[in-house]
């Protein structure tokens, strides 16, 4: 099951062996289980997570009705975490870093930093031209395809355009430390997104 976390930022720590490793700090929740969805009630298994608090006067009446139905205070962020099987949580349970105690590897999903409209050299690592010696070919994409046959550009041709701002999952990041005191998870390496953004964390599916 995946839970919500906030990306705090990066630093380094020393391991027991004295090696310096780069880490990303993730503040895990604390989010609350607001509701459980089951095949009978909702059509599929999912956990409804609430994160943070919202002022009652900022909530629309429709939302207020929903909060009343599931019996909780208004939250800042409400997200659903779908799962194949029934998750082992109960309504009202608080989810924090203690979930990851003893876990060695995690997967982290987040939205990558938006880069705006970028050329093919940055976006797809095309090589670009030689630049000098009168080549007049600097950072262009070269050929877009053949001529008379097919007389069009193939679908999926790598061209300039918007880069970043996509969902990405980084698999099997090593957990350096689960800091219960500060409710932080220290994972080795980087994680998608800028600081203070919301990410999903789950136990690694491919590595234990």
């Amino acid at each position: 099951m995946k839970v919500l976390a906030t990306k705090i930022g990066m630093t380094s720590v020393f391991t027991e062996k004295g090696l310096r490793v780069p880490v990303t700090l993730l503040q895990v929740g604390p989010s609350k289980v607001l509701d459980l969805k089951t095949p009978e009630k909702g059509g599929y298994h999912a956990v409804v997570l609430g994160f943070g608090a919202r002022k009652a006067k900022k909530v629309t009446k429709a939302q207020a009705g929903n909060y009343k139905k599931i019996g909780t205070e208004p939250v800042r962020i409400m997200r659903e975490a779908r799962s194949e099987e029934a998750p082992a949580v109960t309504v009202g349970q608080a989810l924090d870093v203690s979930l990851f105690e003893g876990v060695k590897f995690v997967d982290v999903t987040g939205v990558t930093i938006g880069k705006g409209f970028q050329g093919v050299v940055k976006k797809y690592r095309f090589r670009g031209g030689p630049g000098g010696h009168g080549s007049n070919f600097h950072r262009r994409l070269g050929s877009a395809g053949a001529n008379t046959d097919p007389a069009r550009v193939w679908k999926g041709k790598k061209m300039p355009g918007r880069m970043g701002g996509e969902n990405r999952t980084i698999l099997s990041l090593e957990v350096v430390k689960a800091d219960k005191e500060n409710n932080l998870l220290l994972v080795k390496g980087s994680v998608p997104g800028s600081r203070n953004t919301l990410v999903w964390v789950r136990k690694a599916v491919k590595r234990t």
């Binding site: 930022g9 630093t11 020393f14 004295g18 503040q27 932080l184």
Partner: protein
């Protein structure tokens, strides 16, 4: 920097680090792990540069070993760095003493120590 980052770093920072100035001669005793065994190794050289802040602060030491210049970057807060002593005060007028690399002979590690 986030308060939380500082909190996490604080657990790994050393309480006492001697005052280091660029141009000082510094002796760093480092724990070397060879297979199973551990031993201490001293590296004494001129402090060429300090880089980074907080837990990522590193020092660049340079010495002449059997006529060959050797440089080593050492994280100041590394647990493997067991002892750090300033053996000689130097005086430098810049923050990075990379010009020492092009020096040869007696001058190679000289930093002015007159005030």
């Amino acid at each position: 920097m986030s308060v939380l980052i500082k909190k996490v770093e604080a657990a790994y920072l050393k309480n006492e680090v001697p005052e280091l100035a660029i141009g000082d001669t510094v002796r760093a005793t480092i724990k070397v792990i060879e297979g199973e065994k551990e031993r201490l190794q001293a590296f004494e050289g001129v402090l060429l540069a300090l880089q980074g802040t907080g837990i990522n602060r590193t020092m660049k030491l340079r010495k002449i070993s059997f006529g060959i210049g050797v440089e080593r970057n050492i994280p100041v807060h590394s647990p493997r760095l067991t002892e750090l002593v300033v053996t000689k005060k130097g005086r430098a007028r810049r923050a990075k003493l990379y010009y020492l690399r092009s020096r040869v002979g007696k001058e190679a590690l000289k930093t002015k120590n007159k005030i």
